[in-house]
């Protein structure tokens, strides 16, 4: 067993993959937590698809260039988000239906363009990622996005918490509530692009959502949600990459997301805010309606 790990570490691409996914876990954790808390989990998935045409056009024009990936993805992501917001504001469609319509077109267009251009890169690497694709520019992109994300969250955290918990109150207390909303959507697109090479478009949002939803079953504070979400994301990446190495021909993205799915399942069953709590409260018949005393997930006050 030890030999297997030694062998895995001897490959530069595996060491890069571990570094990349560790940085990615730091970066996507807060984005994923607030996607879940703001009830935007499915919008995150839609945005992951929406950036694909930009990425594909960038790839067709300039190959696997990180700059073109970033520029194309940002234009596509911001374009689709803005158009969806416009349709929701000016037409009869609601926001979810507008975004769903546009991302489906975006996804189909990107597959069409990629096939029509006769790409030598297999479609699977776009959809599911490839650890072999993590080169120096990709690592630089990950580091840059993680830095921007953490600094932005340090500045935005309090208004983001207030606007998520009580949006009407937040709107009444600030002159430009849209800054927080749009800033958060920009961070989402940036992180999806950062996760693109490792996890692919289909799986990128999995590392955001699943650790966050799993953490929600254990944590009763935002601090706990963020800390536990990071631990789950990191575990998913490390275990998922190892599995992907042990089972050749399996892409890294689905391996990582499947491990995250396993952690989610465990949390549903045993987390104090999942089925575990219901089982315990049944055994305390008659006191279900009493407020549950607050317990910090790490045993101390945050």
């Amino acid at each position: 067993m030890l030999e297997l790990f030694t062998e895995m570490w001897s490959f530069a691409f595996m060491r890069r993959a571990f570094v990349a996914t560790t940085v990615l876990s730091v970066s996507v954790t807060p984005v994923g937590a607030f996607l879940v808390l703001r009830r935007l989990s499915l919008a995150g998935e839609a945005m992951a698809h929406a950036i694909t045409p930009g990425v594909v056009i960038g790839f067709v024009m300039a190959g696997l260039s990180v700059t073109w990936l970033l520029v194309g993805g940002l234009i596509a992501g911001i374009g689709v988000a803005s158009l969806a917001a416009l349709l929701a504001a000016r037409t009869i469609l609601r926001g979810d239906a507008s975004l769903a319509s546009l991302y489906l077109v975006a996804l189909a267009a990107s597959i069409f363009i990629l096939s029509a251009a006769g790409s030598v890169v297999p479609l699977e690497s776009f959809l599911f990622g490839s650890i072999l694709g993590i080169d120096d520019p990709s690592l630089m992109l990950l580091g840059g996005v993680a830095t921007v994300t953490l600094v932005s969250f340090a500045v935005m955290l309090r208004p983001l918490i207030v606007s998520t918990c009580d949006p009407v109150f937040f709107e009444s207390q600030t002159r430009r509530p849209w800054v927080i909303e749009q800033g958060f959507m920009l961070l989402l697109v940036l992180n999806l692009l950062a996760a693109f090479k490792t996890l692919g478009t289909l799986m990128a949002v999995g590392l955001m959502i699943l650790p966050a939803t799993a953490a929600r079953y254990w944590a009763s504070t935002v601090t706990g949600q963020l800390a536990l979400g990071f631990v789950f994301a990191l575990l998913s990446c490390w275990i998922g990459l190892t599995l992907s190495y042990l089972l050749p021909e399996t892409p890294s993205g689905p391996s990582i997301v499947l491990v995250a799915g396993g952690l989610f399942l465990i949390s549903v069953l045993f987390g104090p805010l999942g089925f575990g709590a219901r089982l315990r409260s049944r055994s305390r018949a008659g006191v279900e309606d009493e407020p549950v005393p607050y317990t910090h997930p790490f045993g101390k006050s945050p």
Binding site: L37, R39, A154, V155, R158, P159, I161, V162, T164, C165, D166, P167, V168, F169, E171, S172, Q173, T174, R175, R216, A219, S220, T221, V222, G224, Q225, P291, V292, P293, Y294
Partner: protein, 252 residues
């Protein structure tokens, strides 16, 4: 008494719908103004206009003492996310979040203010409970405590008693009375003729494209309530002659 806000010739509505025209009113310090009207008469729009969230079609708002740093606001609970992972004391502290700065947290004085507000709203023992464990009445008490943290000269409460029991309503009304005695102006949106009006100095009746304001006794006359579409004639006849007449007559 001095005016916290002077409203002159206010016409409120939307491009294709005028809610009411030419309202002039002073919202005085140390008074409680009840805003009453049928659904769609513009009660919540009036509150949103005071907050600056929507612009009036015409008219002028003047703040004689300068626009306050904060306006205390308690919205209807429909958009509130009760599953958000936050403790009661943190929800209350939100009332002062704009004073925190980027990096620092609540100082000792701030924490004492939070504890005092929780104590006054009778929810100090629940301070460390997550929100989703609270009942509707307990959550409303926590939101009142958050308004206390805002320490605002003007407080807007949009149907605060819609989902609370009688004892909670009585306690929250006593808190509103205290705010009034502290010299704050309270605007209270209510949806029915109830004992809540006993705690108000003035009433603003909206409906039928008009806004009428004045002392509670003078505004809530049956013919006016019918004319502004708040009651039908048969409802007015029943309410002012029927079993509930004694209570209603106190306001008419």
């Amino acid at each position: 008494m001095s005016a916290v806000l002077q409203i002159r010739d206010l016409t409120l509505g939307y491009p294709d719908l005028t809610l009411f025209r030419r309202l002039s009113i002073d919202i005085e310090a140390g008074t409680t103004l009840a805003v009453l009207g049928a659904n769609g008469s513009g009660k919540s729009s009036f509150v949103k206009m005071l907050l600056g969230l929507i612009q009036p079609l015409s008219g002028q708002l003047t703040w004689p003492r300068g626009r306050p740093h904060a306006i205390g606001y308690l919205a209807q609970m429909t958009e509130f996310d009760r599953r958000f992972p936050i403790r009661v004391r943190d929800l209350v502290a939100m009332g002062a979040w704009q004073g925190f700065g980027l990096w620092s947290g609540l100082d000792r004085a701030g924490r004492d203010r939070v504890a005092a507000a929780l104590e006054e709203c009778h929810i100090l023992p629940l301070a460390d409970c997550p929100l989703h464990t609270l009942s509707g009445g307990q959550l409303q008490r926590a939101l009142f405590a958050r308004v206390m943290l805002q320490d605002a000269p003007l407080i807007l409460l949009d149907e605060p008693f819609a989902a609370v029991d009688q004892s909670t309503e009585e306690h929250l009304l006593s808190i509103i009375e205290r705010w009034r005695h502290e010299g704050r102006a309270v605007v209270l949106v209510v949806h029915d003729l109830s004992s809540v009006l006993d705690h108000c100095n003035q009433v603003l009746l909206l409906g039928g494209g008009h806004a009428t304001h004045g002392a509670v006794e003078s505004v809530l006359a049956p013919e006016r309530l019918v004319a502004q579409g708040y009651l039908s004639e048969s409802q007015a006849a029943w309410m002012f002659r029927g079993p509930a007449a004694n209570q209603v007559r106190r306001h008419a």
